[in-house]
Symmetry: C2
Subunit: 350 residues, 2 copies
């Protein structure tokens, strides 16, 4: 016999991206920011005292909520701190979904969504993106309690304009929560934070992992109307964000100058990488994230993946419908991208 | 209309203990360790590099699992890292409980259990402790999928011997998981870690908050057979423990000399405080935790609570059956305990 619930037994483990170690490795497979976090973050961490560690943290992470609210022009009451963006996803599944309350989302997208649906034992309504990764019309009529749109989408790096999501939120009002997963939005020109004020059914997910170079810190946050934030607070662990992470994330979000400079560096390399991949014969849709989904036209994506790995260069390959002819490549530093490009030139010429 | 599930709407927020601020405050209300963490913890935190923060953490916290396994004489595969002990509780509710799979536990106990049952929408079977807080016979026949025993129990500070929990685990085998919440066990003379090897249905919860003075860090862990750990891994967030916390918790658990010295200091003060409270007319059962549940005999517990608070001394008062005539007092430093004792002498003489 198993002690576990049947749906837990049936749920396949989420497989985190491979984390190769070594100084020689060019790691472009898990969408980390190639540049380090603001020096003010390390300073904030070094200043955490034994006394602050000894005591329970302030349970809501108000220090961060104030800083994020200020940056966004919103009240701290519109913000919830989470242990990584992933915890906000978990909280939304627990708050809105169950056996009679499905989740809906376009596919292909972030592979954690179906895992969380399995753990919560709720039905999944997966609506296929078209070839251009536009917003599928079918999302309006799913009867889902929770509708998720990852924007920019992973792994396509494509972006749906806020106006379109505004229209979707309006159609879903009174029927479904619209969760817009903006984990990668720091690399886009627009975002949907404004919708959180206008709608009682919109939640925006943000992450400090990518734009702020803090994947190791596990810090994310949600943006929504006060009523939704208050409800989500019930579902979170009492002290979900630790004292060190709150101090570090607050320092990071306050240093907007450093942040913007960092983002520009990534965007500059993104342009260059996209152009070069185009010249090498890949089809590269406009990326609004810190990665590129490059489609192989006269080549075999899985073979290129293997040959890159043999050279200690790691990108991501998904053997899935609509993705098996593509490689997802994180935008690295200039040096890393140069190594990737040289290797690709070599591989493709053979 | 509400977008939330009905059970979420109905669940009352968990109320964390009051966190008064100020240098004058004597804070004996939330069971923090009065002494700071090992200096090696602060050193480990200061040594966390920007590179480690930039990258995703190793997802299982293997560095800590190895150190904890070594300390316990168990394999790392018997350990799971969690974002505070509370996250392990949440994971167990999600893994084992649902509408047709109840949870059972003796009461009064940790007030988070009913909140988590509400969030998971599972039935609660609450079996009353007797006046002596011994293991209730009724726990064997509850048909629960998850049975929780907090040991030492909060807020009674009483301890059930491992032999009795061994017998309970045996009776529950094939029927229920037995989760032994050992958040306070570092202050006891015995513990149940050994049961995790002998039983396929026992999970031990540990916390770094109390014994290791790291409540601000949010780090706990579970101990169980490999099969249960593997199942629980599915339920955890992919990267639930951040890089800084793993480094800090590992440094803490490796410094057993510091830890043991710290525990002895708390125990010495616990003895003195218990004796003095007895002399002041309170009934004080033997405490195996870092707090004392003191029963007022000729006095009014809620009034004493108020009068202490007026003097900036905070203890915990629960207006609940079996607790309304008692105060839960965290064992503080010698200086803090002296202040409490002086204040109590003053209050009681009036």
């Amino acid at each position: 016999m198993s002690y576990f619930r049947e749906n837990i037994e049936k749920t396949e483990d989420y497989v985190p991206g491979f984390q190769p170690e070594g100084a020689d490795v060019v790691k472009l497979n898990t969408n980390e920011n190639p540049y380090p976090a603001s020096p003010k973050v390390l300073e904030a961490i070094k200043n955490v005292s034994a006394e602050r560690l000894r005591r329970y943290p302030e349970p809501l992470g108000n220090e961060f909520r104030r800083a994020a609210g200020e940056m966004l022009g919103l009240s701290p009451d519109n913000i919830i701190c989470t242990n990584g963006g992933d915890e906000l996803l978990t909280m939304c599944f627990r708050a809105f979904c169950d056996e009679s309350r499905p989740v809906a989302y376009p596919v292909p997208t972030y592979s954690l969504y179906p895992v969380l649906a399995g753990l919560q034992n709720c039905q999944r309504v997966e609506v296929g993106f078209g070839a251009q990764f536009g917003l599928p019309d079918g999302l309006v009529n799913t009867y889902a309690a929770l509708t998720i749109v990852c924007n920019p989408n992973a792994p396509s790096a494509t972006f749906i304009q806020p106006e379109e999501l505004f229209a979707l939120a309006k159609k879903l009002k009174g029927k479904s929560i619209l969760l817009i997963d903006e984990a990668y939005v720091d690399f886009s020109e627009a975002n949907c934070a404004g919708l959180a004020k206008d709608f009682d059914n919109v939640i925006i997910l943000r992450s400090m992992s990518k734009g702020y170079s803090l994947a190791g810190l596990r810090f994310g946050y949600g943006i929504a109307c006060e009523e939704l934030i208050a409800g989500l607070m019930k579902v979170k662990d009492s002290y979900n964000a630790d004292a060190t992470s709150v101090a570090a994330a607050t320092a990071a979000i306050k240093d907007q100058d450093y942040f913007k400079e960092n983002i520009e560096k990534v965007k500059t390399e993104r342009r260059r990488l996209a152009q070069t991949l185009g010249e090498l014969g890949f089809t590269v849709p406009a990326s609004k994230a810190n990665f590129i989904l490059a489609q192989c036209n006269d080549c075999d994506a899985s073979q290129i993946y293997e040959k890159l790995a043999q050279r200690n260069i790691y990108v991501r390959y998904f053997n899935l419908p609509n993705l098996a002819d593509k490689l997802r490549i994180t935008v690295g530093t200039k040096e890393q991208n140069d190594k990737l490009i040289s290797a690709l030139e070599e591989i493709i010429q053979r």
